[in-house]
Every structure is written in structure tokens, then in C-alpha cells.
């Protein structure tokens, strides 16, 4: 038995070393760095709360960046999830070619963070690009997708909503596991499609909604490629999400201490929202028996 115990740890050894070297120690180090002034040239100088005080009192870029990030996340996550669920609901029906459609809807997610897709976005939403050409057929004036601060963030949001495929596949798997007799019983009792969707489908897939919500939120807070390639954070910093700000502070200005402080604020926001989601999940996530989890 003792031999077996040691063996388990031997199999885990790469993970344990990696956990220490690349996650646990960097995690603590980043917390420490956030209280220092460190530019890679001299050793870190302890400055106490100075970075945080500067962030919340005099740094207007940070305030702008934070509000843009929150707006982006609260726009992207619900839109993407609602759309993914809608399409999954339609697909969850005896349709021919369901696999074909599922594959087609999944393709954009495969290309996900690829730079090529951000490039494509730049072209199709250009002032004379594909989208405005199509809008012109319907007599709609060309829209300034990237030049206008209110539109620019929305255009980036569209890019992420376009990649609803993986959330959709997870929803679809959950929908397919729902017992069909529930719907038949509801139909006999005279429930409409909408009512059975709200009172049967939604409660039964809450675990998956919860999972998708957390994953998409954590991911949305870390969006980098889209705004970096498409708008470079502009115009007027309207797409300057916090990860871009952290990147600029850390790897362009090499202000590691300050960048760590921003990273920690971002981390704490994500943590707080995740905890709120977990805490509230007891009230709205429904785990039926032991079959589903």
C-alpha cells in the first residue's frame, strides 16, 4: 500500500512541479509585485498600497478601461448564451441534416482566437466593407463600425457572439438528455411551447447554463486578441479592455508592479462575480437526483 501511495505521487510529479513553478509561486509573486515598483532593471521596491491608491484615485485610463471591460462582459456573455441556447433549442428537434448544421455553427468557434478572424472582422466591418455593402441594398446608410466609440465595442462583441458554437454544443447535449415524456405530459395538460420551455427546459438545464455562464465570463474578462488587432483599444479608448492595459503596462512600459496591481484588480472582480454565481446557484441551479450532474 505504501508503495502504491508513493507511485500515485510519482505519476503526479510533472503536475506538482508545474503547479508550483508556473501557477502557485507566480500567483503569490504577482500579489507581492502589486505592492512594489519594479521595472526589471532594479530589484522590486516595496511601495505599499501606492499602486492601488494611484489606480483608484488618479488613473483615468484605468477607470475608463474598467468600465469598458464591465460593459463588454455584460454585453457579450448574455447575448452569446441566449443565442447559443436559442439555436440549440431549434436544433433539438427531429430535423434532417442536424449534424450538418451543428458542424456549420461550430466552425467559427474552431477559428476562435485566430488572428486571421480578427483581420477578417477588420475588413468586413470597414466603412466600405462587406457589411455596409449589404446594408446598402436595404437602403441603410453606411455605419462607422470602428470609428465611432459607441459602435466599436459592439463590433468586438459581435465577433465573440459569432463564436457561440461551443456553448451551443454543450446546451444541445443537455437538451437531448431531457426526458421527452415530460413535454408530452405538459402538452396533454395544455401547456404551450413557451410555457414548457420556461418551466421544464430551463430548470432542467440550469447546471449547464451555470457552467457556460462561468466559463464564458472568465473568458470574456480576458479578451485580448479581438480589440488588440481590430481597434488597438481605440477610438478614444472605447475598446481598451483591461487585458490590453495590463499588456501595455507590463510588456511595453515594463512597469511590472503597476501591471500586477491592475491584474489583481481584474482577478478580484472575476473571483467576486464567480463567487456570487456559485452562491446564488444554490437558489436557481437544479440538480435532479443522481443521473444528471
Amino acid at each position: 500500500m505504501t508503495r502504491k501511495r508513493a507511485l500515485g505521487l510519482i505519476y503526479l510529479s510533472p503536475y506538482i512541479i508545474g503547479l508550483m513553478a508556473f501557477t502557485a509561486i507566480p500567483f503569490i509573486a504577482s500579489f507581492y509585485l502589486s505592492f512594489t515598483d519594479y521595472n526589471l532593471m532594479r530589484s522590486p521596491k516595496w511601495t505599499g498600497l501606492e499602486n492601488y491608491i494611484k489606480l483608484f484615485t488618479s488613473d483615468r485610463t484605468f477607470r475608463r478601461s474598467l468600465s469598458v471591460t464591465l460593459l463588454y462582459v455584460f454585453l457579450t456573455v448574455p447575448l452569446k448564451l441566449a443565442f447559443a441556447l436559442f439555436i440549440a433549442y431549434i436544433l433539438n428537434y427531429k430535423l434532417r441534416c442536424i449534424n450538418l448544421f451543428r458542424t456549420a455553427f461550430y466552425v467559427p468557434s474552431i477559428l476562435g482566437g485566430s488572428i486571421a478572424i480578427a483581420v477578417l472582422w477588420r475588413y468586413i466591418f470597414a466603412t466600405e466593407g462587406l457589411v455596409n455593402m449589404v446594408l446598402a441594398w436595404f437602403g441603410i446608410e453606411p455605419v462607422n463600425w470602428f470609428g465611432d466609440p459607441t459602435n466599436a465595442l459592439f463590433t468586438i462583441t459581435l465577433l465573440r457572439c459569432w463564436q457561440f458554437g461551443s456553448a451551443m454544443v454543450i446546451f444541445l447535449a443537455a437538451l437531448q438528455s431531457i426526458d421527452k415524456s415530460l413535454y408530452e405530459a405538459a402538452a396533454i395538460d395544455g401547456a404551450s411551447k413557451l410555457r414548457s420551455f420556461v418551466f421544464i427546459t430551463i430548470p432542467l438545464i440550469t447546471p449547464v447554463i451555470f457552467f457556460n455562464l462561468i466559463m464564458q465570463m472568465v473568458q470574456a474578462f480576458q479578451e485580448f486578441n479581438g480589440p488588440y488587432i481590430i481597434t488597438q483599444g481605440g477610438p478614444l479608448k472605447s475598446t481598451y479592455l483591461l487585458p490590453l492595459y495590463i499588456y501595455d503596462e507590463a510588456f511595453k512600459r515594463f512597469d511590472m508592479g503597476y501591471a500586477s496591481a491592475i491584474a489583481w484588480v481584474l482577478f478580484l472582480i472575476i473571483m467576486a462575480l464567480t463567487l456570487v454565481a456559485f452562491w446564488s446557484s444554490k437558489k436557481w441551479v437544479f440538480y435532479a437526483g443522481d443521473k444528471r450532474s
Binding site: 503547479l19 474552431i110 482566437g113 477578417l120
Partner: protein, 307 residues
């Protein structure tokens, strides 16, 4: 007499009910047909809107620069491969072939390292008991949810101290230490669903645990391992921030950085070069996806995934 009239009443009532039922059935059938048509219409419409940008991209890469912003159609009026020829040359001393080779050099060791290390770790978690097992497994979940943004800066400092900057090591090593918690989690779930009878039998026949892992567990894990390799391939192919931070010399650029470079350096009106190289950049990922889509869909449904 009364009996007969009663019977005829019953009969007409029955006939009415039957007619009513038939009418109802017809209405339902019509409804079902309309709803099916609506579903197809929505799916087709959404599919077209979603895929047309990609289709347009392919068409536009064969257009002349003047046509890209003038023709919303897919088919080029004067097809040209100029974009591909000139884009491939790039404005650097290297061709795009060099950048594809660099991407390959990053992906291959990283994927192999991921597959080996994650298999070992998942086997350890699923089949052995050891102190702190619960805590260690919670750490897998914690890493899964931990935003990378918070560890990125110290990691950079660490790799800088090790002298690994501007090499592929920062991209390879964390993954080769089972750092992608998602894969560990997925393989553990997969292994737990497989009974260990075969392994017991192998043990009785005198295999040690390494031999059991290699000859019994790995073959059973094969479908899940293929998913792991495919996802790692795609993510690494698409990865931009990692190379952006760690790779600084152009001769080591992977395609994602090279494409960004060509946007920055190409003259303002040479659009078709950039579009052509964009098409080439997404081709490997798409090709792999279409060859092995079964594994992708299963992988996501099984473990849930980012993206």
C-alpha cells in the same frame, strides 16, 4: 325504437368525434409542418450569416485590390493569385513557409508533451490513492478557473531569469508539465468511467503499473487522447498572446505573429495579400476539424470547453 335512436345518437356522436379528431390531427400536422419549415428557415438564415464572412474571405483572397471593397459577391471578377504570391514573400527576408515551419516547431513538442504528461497525471488521479489527493484535484479545478492574466507577469519574469526569452521553451514547458488543467480534467473524467478490470487482470499477469499504463490504459484512452491532441493543436495554432510576449525575433515568428506583422508592414492598399495569408493561416485548423470533427464535438460535450 328508443334503443335504435339512442344507438344512432351514439353513432352520430362517434362520427362527429372522429371527424373532430381528424380535423385536429390535420391542424396539428399542418402546425408541425409550418414549425419545421420555420426551423429550417431560421437555421439556414443563421448559417448563411455566420458562414458567409468566411466564404467571402476565400473569394476575396483571389480578388484584385480594387475589387475587395467594391464587390460583396463571392466570385472574383478577375481572379488573380497575386495576393498569394506576394503575400507569401512577405516584407521580411523570410517567406510564410518559414513561419508555418515555426508554428509546427511550437505545436509538435507541445502537443506530445501535453499528451504524455496529462495521461500520466490523469492515471495517477484516477487509479491511485495518496496523501493530499483531494487537495491536488481541487487545484486542477482551481487552475481551470484561474484567469491566466494574474500569473502571466511573474511567469515572464521567471522565464527571463532562466534565459528562455525569445525561444520556444516558455511555450512548450508549462504544457509539458500538464499545465493545461482542462485536459487533465477531461482525461480523469474519461478514465473514471472505465472499469479497472482489465488493469487488474494485467496486474495479475505480472505487469507493473507503467506497463499497465502503456499497454492497457493508453489504448483505452485513445479516443480521448486524440481529442486532447486536436484541441491542443488548434489552440496553439491560434495562440497569439503567448508568442507575442515571448518571441521577439522575426525568424522565430509563428504564423499568428507573422500575420500581425504583415498587417503592420504591408502598404495600405495591398489588401489581398493579407486576406490570402489569412486564408492560409486558418486552413490547417479547418482541415483538421473537418477530418476529425467527431472527436471535437465529443470532447466538448464530455468536458465542456472554452472557446
Amino acid at each position: 325504437m328508443t334503443d335504435i335512436s339512442q344507438a344512432s345518437d351514439v353513432f352520430t356522436a362517434g362520427a362527429d368525434a372522429l371527424a373532430e379528431a381528424r380535423r385536429h390531427q390535420r391542424i396539428q400536422q399542418r402546425r408541425a409542418r409550418i414549425s419545421a419549415i420555420m426551423r429550417y428557415a431560421i437555421l439556414f438564415g443563421v448559417g448563411l450569416v455566420m458562414l458567409y464572412p468566411l466564404i467571402w474571405l476565400v473569394g476575396a483572397s483571389f480578388k484584385t485590390n480594387a475589387e475587395i471593397f467594391a464587390n460583396p459577391g463571392f466570385i472574383p471578377r478577375e481572379p488573380t493569385t497575386e495576393g498569394y504570391v506576394q503575400g507569401w514573400e512577405t516584407s521580411t527576408p523570410y517567406t510564410f513557409g518559414r513561419f508555418f515551419w515555426n508554428s509546427f516547431l511550437i505545436i509538435l513538442p507541445k502537443t506530445i508533451g501535453t499528451a504524455i504528461s496529462c495521461t500520466m497525471v490523469a492515471y495517477g488521479f484516477a487509479r491511485f490513492d495518496f496523501p493530499l489527493k483531494k487537495l491536488l484535484f481541487s487545484s486542477v479545478i482551481a487552475i481551470l478557473l484561474l484567469p491566466n492574466v494574474v500569473t502571466r507577469i511573474p511567469q515572464y519574469i521567471l522565464f527571463r531569469e532562466l534565459g528562455w526569452l525569445d525561444s520556444f521553451l516558455p511555450l512548450w514547458v508549462p504544457s509539458a508539465m500538464a499545465g493545461d488543467a482542462f485536459f487533465v480534467f477531461m482525461l480523469v473524467q474519461f478514465l473514471r468511467a472505465i472499469p479497472d478490470d482489465m488493469e487488474q487482470a494485467a496486474r495479475v499477469d505480472g505487469c507493473n503499473s507503467w506497463q499497465t499504463l502503456l499497454f492497457v490504459v493508453v489504448p483505452m484512452l485513445a479516443p480521448a487522447l486524440i481529442s486532447v491532441c486536436l484541441f491542443q493543436f488548434m489552440w496553439t495554432m491560434n495562440d497569439f498572446l503567448g508568442p507575442l510576449i515571448y518571441i521577439s525575433s522575426v525568424d522565430k515568428y509563428p504564423v499568428s505573429l507573422a500575420l500581425k506583422l504583415s498587417i503592420d508592414t504591408t502598404e495600405a492598399f495591398e489588401w489581398n495579400r493579407i486576406l490570402a495569408m489569412s486564408v492560409l493561416t486558418i486552413t490547417p485548423a479547418l482541415a483538421v476539424f473537418f477530418m476529425a470533427q467527431k472527436y471535437f464535438i465529443e470532447g466538448i460535450s464530455a468536458g465542456g470547453i472554452k472557446g
